[in-house]
Structure formats: structure tokens, C-alpha cells
């Protein structure tokens, strides 16, 4: 399971150089007028309607792997809109964001990327493009394209105007790439993946000694970037400025600013890159992060406690602590569950003070031998006696085998099911970060988790009996609901599935 990096706010994402260079561009008197004109022209020339006819659309049916990664990148960058994603034939390991603010955006990726890049690199590439869209770079790039093509048609002076134009935007073009790389770090939740992508674009194996040496490669700064040459480079070089970008993104994740605002990202990236420790304290913190990243729930809790207290060279960071407690709680750690209850009760990190979820966590923590002198405020739950027989019948009817012990325990931990509950049936899936989603039917109720945005839920059998069971279409397709709670996606063929078990259970209820 991967520890969540937390949120990257727009203000943090934008590279300081971009602010300065954008300001310089916008200080030109006619800039606003030109931008408006360009937006108007582009509005009528948008590629969106054509895209579907020209390129291969990526969705959950055509390319489930790529689509899954794209969804993950969007989620990690807190992006609600799903921009259409297309694949086109191309050798370079690049993608491009297109579109306009008014007509919407899309991303077009070369097919070589899908074949040659690993998941982390693909997430980084998609993150860069989402970063360009979120950073509102597309408007400026489209404006540049339009101005360039217009300038080229002016006899005699065209090239000279084009030269001035591109040299004027040169600093902004470089800075906008830095911003996109920052988004890529959060989309891939790894600085290594971003570096690895940039290295592959240059043609280097990320594992080679040459890759390491790039950090030290001196970059000779040009006094004034010649516009003519810049046009050539920008259009012809898919890996323009990658060495500088690698150095920049490495410096950013190791910066004091990152250590202060996203200490967890700072340390995780250092662990990932095998950076040496500065002091014994730093070494112990690095070791704790490394253990937590390897799945050690106890280390995650210890680390989260340090983040709460701001000890051992770590700043106070409740956001990092919340991510770590949730990570450990979903591995069944009772102390992490208890801390999460505290966070919920005090509304720390905007956690909802939800009485039902607190009750669920209390039961899960106490059943896992939470070391405390205080008694459990919640008594035992009534057990559904008919469930075992129903599940047995279904298994016999469809030849479905029971989930193995290991899967059951993982589901128990991930959905915060009391340890002493019997889980009769479960339907789970894992996302690419290793987090578990799905639904489990245990002796005391239904437990599950629907998506990354929400925490595990619980529905007691008495509640299940009292509520309506129905299916409804949502943005994510058809789901089965119990009252207001979303339970599980409705499959096309319900035979032998958890969905059928729910219907049978409902029928068996005395109130039905």
C-alpha cells in the first residue's frame, strides 16, 4: 500500500519563475487584447470534435490500464474534470494538452508511451499534462502558436517578429515546464518516477550511472535566448530542457519549503533516492519513513505521532499525520484507529465528526486489543444468524469458493471490521496503490469502502433490514444502495455475486 502524499495546492504548484515571466509577458499593452482575440479564434478552431475521429480514445474499455492510471492522476491532483485522453501514433515519449478554457481541454499521448513507460512514468507524464491544464498554460501556448503562424505570413518581417516573440516567451516556456513537473511529482507520488520519465525522454536508462551524473551536469545559461533557435528547439526537441528540469525538480523536493509544507513528500522522496542522512536524528526519521513505505504500520504510527508532536527534526504536520494514521488504520493497527477517532472528534484536517464511523473505529480498535484502560463505549452488535446459511447456499449453487484467510483478514483490516466478526462473503478489488475497495458481509453487518475519496463505512443488519435496497445510476455507472449509502457497483451478470447475496438477504428479512 502506498502512503498518500496529500494535496498540492495551486499556489505551491506554480514555480516562482513562472509568476515572474508571466507577469513580464502580460505587462505588454496589447497582451490582453491578443489573448482575447486568440481565445475567440481558437474557440472556432477547437480540435475537440475532430479528436475522436482522428485519434484513439482511452477509456475503461479500450485501455483499462491507461485509463485507471489517468483516473488516479486526476484524483491525486484533485482534479474533478476528466479531460478526454487520446492515443496517437508517435515515437517520442511525450504527450500534449490541447484545447481552450471555453471549449474544454484534452490530452493526446504518443502510443510509444503506453508501450515503453511503466506505471509511475505514465502517471508522471499524465500529471505533467494535467499540471499544464490546471496551471492555465494551454491558453498561452495556443496564443503563441497563433501569433507565430500569423507572424510567419508577414513578408520580410515575419521571421524577425517570430524571433522576438519566442525569445520574449522563452523564460515562461521553461518555467511552465517546471510547474508541470511539480504536478507530476504529486500525480506519480514519486520524484523518481518524474526523473525516470525525463531521463527516458532523453534516451537514458534511469538505472544507469549516467542518470545519476546528470544531477551534477553544468547547464550553461544563455544570455539572451535567441528566438529563431528557440522555435527550432521547442518544435523539434521533445526533451527540451530535461536536464535542467531534472535538476530543478530534485532541488524542489529537497527544498526547505517542501520540508516545511510537505515533510512527508520530502522524506519519502529522499528515501526513494537513497539520499544520505545529515544527522543521527535525520537518519532515524529517514529509517521510519522507509519502514512505513514498506508497509510497516507500527512505523507509520510512530512517525505520525512525531508529526503530531513536531519532534525529531520533524515539523508539526497534522496533514501528514492524518495520512499516516489512515494508512496504518487500514492495515488494522488499533492505535492508529484510536488516533483517527481523536482527529474526527476534534475535526482535525477537516475530518468529519461522524458518530457512526467513530463507533465503527472503536469496535475495530477494541477488538484488535487496543491497549487502554478505558472501556469500549459501544456494546456488542446483534449477529445475523441467517447469513451463514444463505452464503453456503449461494456457494453451493454457483460453485463459488470462499475467500481465503489472507484475503479475509486484509478486508477486515481495510474496512475496519471487528476482528472477532465472522466474514462470510466479500468482494474486493485493489487500486494501483494497493488500497482495498469493495464490500464484505460479516456476522454484524456490511462493511466496505467505495472509493479513494471516502473512508470505510458500516451498515448494521438492523439498519439493512429497515432501509430500502435499490439500484441507481450515478456518475460512475450503476450502484446498489441501502438507503442513502452506496454499497457496491451493480454487475451486468448478478449470478453468484455479492449483489445477488444482498438481494437474497433483503428478501430473507422479516420486514420484506
Amino acid at each position: 500500500m502506498k502512503i498518500d502524499f496529500g494535496k498540492l495546492f495551486d499556489a505551491e504548484m506554480v514555480h516562482p519563475l513562472e509568476y515572474e515571466s508571466a507577469k513580464a509577458c502580460q505587462s505588454v499593452a496589447v497582451y490582453d487584447w491578443l489573448a482575447k482575440q486568440a481565445a475567440q479564434i481558437k474557440k472556432n478552431l477547437t480540435d475537440l470534435p475532430e479528436a475522436a475521429a482522428r485519434w484513439f480514445p482511452v477509456n475503461q474499455f479500450t485501455s483499462p490500464r491507461l485509463h485507471g492510471l489517468y483516473m488516479l492522476a486526476l484524483k491525486r491532483l484533485n482534479c474533478a474534470e476528466e479531460y478526454p485522453l487520446f492515443l496517437k501514433n508517435g515515437y517520442d515519449l511525450t504527450a500534449k494538452a490541447l484545447g481552450s478554457r471555453s471549449e474544454g481541454h484534452m490530452i493526446v499521448m504518443n502510443d510509444a508511451c503506453a508501450e515503453e513507460l511503466n506505471d509511475g512514468e505514465l502517471l508522471a507524464l499524465l500529471g505533467q499534462q494535467i499540471g499544464h491544464i490546471r496551471g492555465d498554460h494551454i491558453q498561452q501556448l495556443e496564443l503563441l502558436d497563433l501569433l507565430e503562424s500569423s507572424a510567419q505570413s508577414i513578408p520580410m518581417m515575419g521571421t524577425i517578429i517570430g524571433k522576438k516573440l519566442w525569445s520574449y516567451f522563452a523564460d515562461w516556456l521553461v518555467a511552465s515546464q517546471y510547474t508541470a513537473d511539480r504536478a507530476a511529482v504529486f500525480a506519480a507520488q514519486s520524484v523518481y518516477a518524474v526523473e525516470s520519465l525525463l531521463l527516458r525522454q532523453i534516451g537514458l536508462d534511469p538505472a544507469s550511472p549516467e542518470a545519476k551524473a546528470l544531477e551534477q551536469q553544468p547547464v550553461k545559461q544563455a544570455k539572451g535566448k535567441s528566438g529563431v533557435f528557440f522555435i527550432k528547439s521547442w518544435h523539434e526537441m521533445p526533451a527540451f530542457g530535461n536536464v535542467e528540469r531534472i535538476q530543478e525538480v530534485r532541488a524542489w523536493v529537497r527544498s526547505g519549503e517542501m520540508k516545511k509544507d510537505h515533510p512527508q513528500v520530502y522524506y519519502q522522496c529522499r528515501v526513494e533516492e537513497n539520499d544520505p542522512a545529515f544527522s543521527p536524528e535525520d537518519e532515524s526519521v529517514l529509517r521510519l519513513h522507509a519502514s512505513a513505505m514498506e508497509g510497516d504500520a507500527k512505523a507509520a504510527v510512530k512517525l505520525a505521532e512525531l508529526y503530531v508532536q513536531g519532534k525529531e527534526a520533524l515539523p508539526v504536520c497534522t496533514a501528514a499525520a492524518a495520512c499516516l494514521f489512515q494508512y496504518a488504520a487500514c492495515q488494522g493497527d488499533p492505535l492508529a484507529m484510536r488516533y483517527l477517532i481523536g482527529f474526527m472528534q476534534h475535526g482535525i484536517e477537516n475530518m468529519e465528526n461522524d458518530e457512526r464511523r467513530i463507533e465503527q473505529l472503536f469496535r475495530a480498535a477494541y477488538s484488535r486489543k487496543l491497549a487502554t484502560s478505558r472501556p469500549n463505549p459501544y456494546g456488542p452488535l446483534p449477529v445475523n444468524e441467517s447469513l451463514r446459511a444463505l452464503v453456503g447456499n449461494l456457494e453451493q449453487k454457483y460453485g463459488v469458493s470462499s475467500p481465503d484467510v489472507e484475503d479475509l483478514q486484509r478486508a477486515k483490516d481495510a474496512f475496519w471490521i471487528p476482528q472477532d466478526d465472522d466474514v462470510y462473503s466479500c468482494s474486493v478489488c485493489t487500486n494501483s496503490d494497493g488500497w482495498l475497495f469493495g464490500l464484505a458481509a460479516s456476522s454484524t453487518g456490511l462493511y466496505g469502502r467505495t472509493d479513494e475519496k471516502s473512508l470505510p463505512f458500516m451498515i448494521k443488519w438492523e439498519e439493512f433490514e429497515a432501509r430500502d435496497l435499490y439500484s441507481r445510476e450515478t456518475d460512475d455507472g450503476w450502484w446498489i444502495f441501502s438507503g442513502p449509502a452506496r454499497l457496491i457497483q451493480k454487475p451486468k451478470d448478478m449470478h453468484g455475486t455479492m449483489a445477488e447475496l444482498l438481494i437474497l438477504l433483503k428478501k430473507a428479512c422479516p420486514s420484506s
Binding site: 510567419q152 525522454q201 532523453i202 544563455a222 535567441s226 528547439s233
Partner: protein, 257 residues
């Protein structure tokens, strides 16, 4: 015993000399270089290469090959070497006073030492002959040509440039042959990266029954010649049979001396 230095005159193809003279006479390019434009271009070129590509360190195999080639061609200073991901297997020359050679990573990954040597020799021979400078200046003309308000002027300029680009290929092929002293290797270098590896392995260069029938067919047919001549106005591609037969001719001429 040290080998004598290979001079530009030893390998420069007469066609290159003629076209270069024509271009220089027509555009007065040599006077442009004095204007200081070269420094500005170098400045930007160095920024782009160092910020975008991997700079080859002196211990790298590519650098060692380049050192050996530089000695052969009497190049006092080694050009800056970079590795980049490129679709083509051809090395790219850039820079004005400070030449740079960009080596495609695909060529390095193939680990074909013979071909790496050939390509590096060809590139360094190009640096010695100043191909990087002309390529740079020609590129500017190519870009500026769109703004010339004289009918067909840009097409005529481009045709001249394409002729030059083809001619430097013939010169570089000769330089590779002189540097390696191996005709078969120099001929393989012409087809390497264009003909599939699997097919290339089956060739026996310079003998009947391999590439020769194709070369003969190309040179004999009037229709093919006409089509080839017409197409060469539109592109800078030096036809493989042309390069192949010219190199054999050059090698035969030298062995007859």
C-alpha cells in the same frame, strides 16, 4: 607508428566543394560569421544542449572513440559530445565556433562498436570540414526563405541547400573509409540504421549478388534517374545506391593510385 593526419582535401567530394563555393558566393556567408552572430548562436546552442541532453564524460566509450577520431583528422579540440533519444541513427552536428555532436541513444544501445566508430569518424570529419557551421547558417536561410517575396526564390534556395546536404554525405562516407581503412565497414555504415539489421547481416558488401544489382539498376535506368533527379529538388536525402556506388568508385580510385 602514428598514422598521418587525414586532411579535408583527402575526403572532400568535388561536388561538395563546388556547391559550397556557389553558396558562399551567392550569400556571402563567410562575412556573416564575422558579424558576431556565431557567438550568439553558440551561446543558445550550448544552453539547449547542456539543459536537454546528457553530456558524455571523458571516460565514456563514445568519448574515447571521438578522441581517436579527432587524432586521425587532426582536430585540435574535441567537440562537445551529447547523447539524446533520436529516431534516427545519424549523428547531429550543431554549433558555430563551438561545435557539438549529438549521438542518438539508439546507436549507443546497439553496442555495435564498428558502426559507432564509423558514425563518429563521419561526424568528426564533418566538424573538421566545417559542416556544422554551414548547416547552422543554412538552417537560418531555410527559415528565412518563407519571408522572401520573390517567386520561387525559396524553392531555389532550398534546392541548393539540399544539394549541399547530399554532397556532404559523400564526403563523410569517404572520410569514414579513410579513417577505418575498411571498405566493407564503410559500406555497411551507409546502410546501417536504414536497412533492417536482420537484412543487413546477410549482405556481403562490394561483391556481386548483394546490393550491387540494385545499384546497377539505379544507375542505368533513365526513368529512375529522371525521377531521382526531380525528387532531389524537393528533399535532402542522399540515395543509398548513389552513396554506395560513389564510395566504391572512390575506394577503387585510391587502390589504383
Amino acid at each position: 607508428m602514428n598514422r598521418p593526419v587525414i586532411e579535408v582535401d583527402d575526403y572532400m567530394h568535388p561536388e561538395e566543394r563546388a556547391v559550397t563555393n556557389r553558396i558562399v558566393a551567392l550569400t556571402q556567408m563567410d562575412s556573416w560569421a564575422e558579424s558576431g552572430m556565431g557567438e550568439g548562436l553558440d551561446d543558445t546552442n550550448q544552453y539547449i544542449c547542456s539543459a536537454s541532453y546528457y553530456a558524455v564524460p571523458s571516460r565514456h566509450m563514445i568519448a574515447r572513440e571521438a578522441e581517436a577520431a579527432a587524432e586521425l583528422f587532426g582536430l585540435g579540440q574535441l567537440p562537445k559530445l551529447y547523447i539524446a533519444r533520436k529516431f534516427s541513427y545519424d549523428l547531429q552536428l550543431s554549433g558555430y565556433h563551438e561545435p557539438t555532436v549529438i549521438v542518438p541513444s539508439a546507436l549507443v544501445d546497439e553496442h555495435d562498436e564498428g558502426m559507432i566508430r564509423c558514425r563518429i569518424c563521419g561526424a568528426l570529419a564533418g566538424v573538421k570540414a566545417g559542416h556544422h557551421q554551414l548547416e547552422y547558417l543554412l538552417w537560418i536561410i531555410e527559415n528565412m526563405s518563407g519571408s522572401i517575396p520573390i517567386p520561387f526564390a525559396s524553392q531555389a534556395a532550398c534546392t541548393l541547400l539540399y544539394e549541399w546536404k547530399r554532397a556532404i554525405r559523400y564526403s563523410q562516407d569517404r572520410a569514414v573509409y579513410l579513417a577505418t581503412g575498411n571498405l566493407e565497414e564503410a559500406l555497411r555504415n551507409i546502410l546501417y540504421g536504414t536497412v533492417p539489421q536482420e537484412t543487413l547481416k546477410r549482405f556481403t558488401f562490394g561483391s556481386n549478388g548483394t546490393f550491387d544489382p540494385q545499384v546497377r539498376r539505379y544507375s542505368k535506368g533513365l526513368v529512375e534517374k529522371t525521377v531521382g533527379a526531380f525528387a532531389s529538388l524537393m528533399q535532402d536525402y542522399a540515395y543509398l545506391p548513389e552513396r554506395y556506388s560513389r564510395l566504391i568508385q572512390f575506394a577503387e580510385g585510391r587502390s589504383g593510385q
